[in-house]
């Protein structure tokens, strides 16, 4: 009994050490969203000039949709763009976008240069709708179920790994539900 008591500080130290070590693995930028499983915020964004369809909350029901928040000035957005294009064109997921705090002509030029896989794009010029979505760093992506609820959020550029391991299985699951 006494021996155990003497070991206690050492065991506590080991426990704290392990906890801190595991903490290294965690990304401090990955903040859990409070909006998971909640309906998308009510919003309505205008289209880019020369286009007909923007993006509104009403448009996000009926089909499982990935909403991608991007900007032409955002470098990681360009990095994830091929992944999103593949998701939309080859893997058949509806992808819509919020163009975050961007100049319209820059956004249009960027889409011409990099391709436009988006079913529609809403322009969030002042970033206010992005705040309603809890966006704090572009790019961010949200997966919306058929009832228009946010089911998954990814902060930072989408990678093939995130798509394969998280998004596609969830899309399949949500389409059945």
């Amino acid at each position: 009994m006494r021996r155990v008591l003497y070991l206690l500080p050492f065991l506590l130290f080991v426990g704290v050490g392990v906890a801190f070590y595991l903490g290294f693995e965690r990304d401090p930028r990955d903040i859990p969203s409070v909006l998971i499983d909640k309906p998308v915020p009510s919003f309505s964004l205008p289209p880019l000039p020369g286009r007909t369809e923007g993006l509104s909350s009403a448009r996000l029901t009926g089909d499982v949709t990935l909403v991608n928040v991007f900007a032409s000035w955002c470098i990681p957005c360009k990095a994830e763009h091929p992944v999103i294009t593949r998701l939309a064109r080859e893997q058949g997921v509806t992808v819509r976008a919020i163009n975050h705090k961007d100049k319209a002509e820059d956004a249009l030029a960027w889409l011409t240069r990099n391709g436009d896989p988006y079913a529609s794009i809403g322009v969030d010029l002042d970033g206010r709708v992005s705040i309603d979505w809890g966006v704090y760093g572009v790019p961010e992506s949200f997966l919306i179920d058929r009832q228009g609820r946010i089911r998954f959020k990814h902060v930072g550029p989408l990678t093939p790994q995130v798509v394969e391991e998280q998004i596609l299985p969830l899309v399949k699951h949500l389409r059945q539900g």
Binding site: P28, I31, S33, V34, L35, P41, I131, G134, G137
Partner: protein, 170 residues
């Protein structure tokens, strides 16, 4: 001699005056992030906005409040806080508006609730446990010394001790 002293005093005064003046004119503390165009006309409302902003974490530079941070998102949130206040929200209402979007993570003072119980209670619990352990240890030690009290010397032992002490004296 006196002129030298006077010259010294004068130069000291001249040297110190600009320093004294700048400290009067310049605001104390670090340069602030709040831009003049964000400031509300109503000083009472602005003061409330500043207080709220100091408690809200900037999500881009995570250890700064939005009041300190120059990040664009911090600016947007500062403007938002002021807008909500102008619209007549209470301080708590503004906080809820922001936490509804970004979660408790934006609060620099974590709220006291079930998920943060360990955070709030642990220091006091550890202090209590440590105090208890110390008290028990000290009590145990006092008990041990009391037990170590031995029987008084016998007559024979006393004689031998006296003999030894006398020998020492010589």
């Amino acid at each position: 001699m006196r002129t030298i002293a006077r010259a010294c005093a004068l130069s000291l005064a001249l040297g110190l005056t600009p320093l004294a003046l700048t400290s009067l004119v310049l605001p104390v503390g670090p340069a602030w992030a709040v831009q003049p165009d964000e400031v509300l006309a109503d000083p009472a409302l602005e003061a409330r906005a500043r207080d709220i902003s100091k408690d809200l974490r900037c999500l881009v530079c995570q250890n700064q409040s939005i009041d300190d941070s120059n990040a664009p998102l911090a600016r947007d949130l500062r403007v938002l806080v002021r807008e909500r206040l102008k619209a007549g929200d209470s301080d708590a209402g503004v906080m809820t508006y922001v936490t509804d979007r970004y979660g408790d993570y934006v609060l620099l003072r974590p709220p006291f609730k079930a998920t943060t119980l360990v955070l709030w209670v642990a220091p006091f619990a550890i202090l209590l446990l440590g105090g208890l352990a110390t008290a028990l240890f000290l009590r145990g030690r006092r008990g041990a010394t009391a037990e170590a009290d031995t029987a008084p010397l016998t007559e024979d032992e006393r004689r031998r001790l006296d003999a030894l002490l006398r020998k020492d004296d010589l």
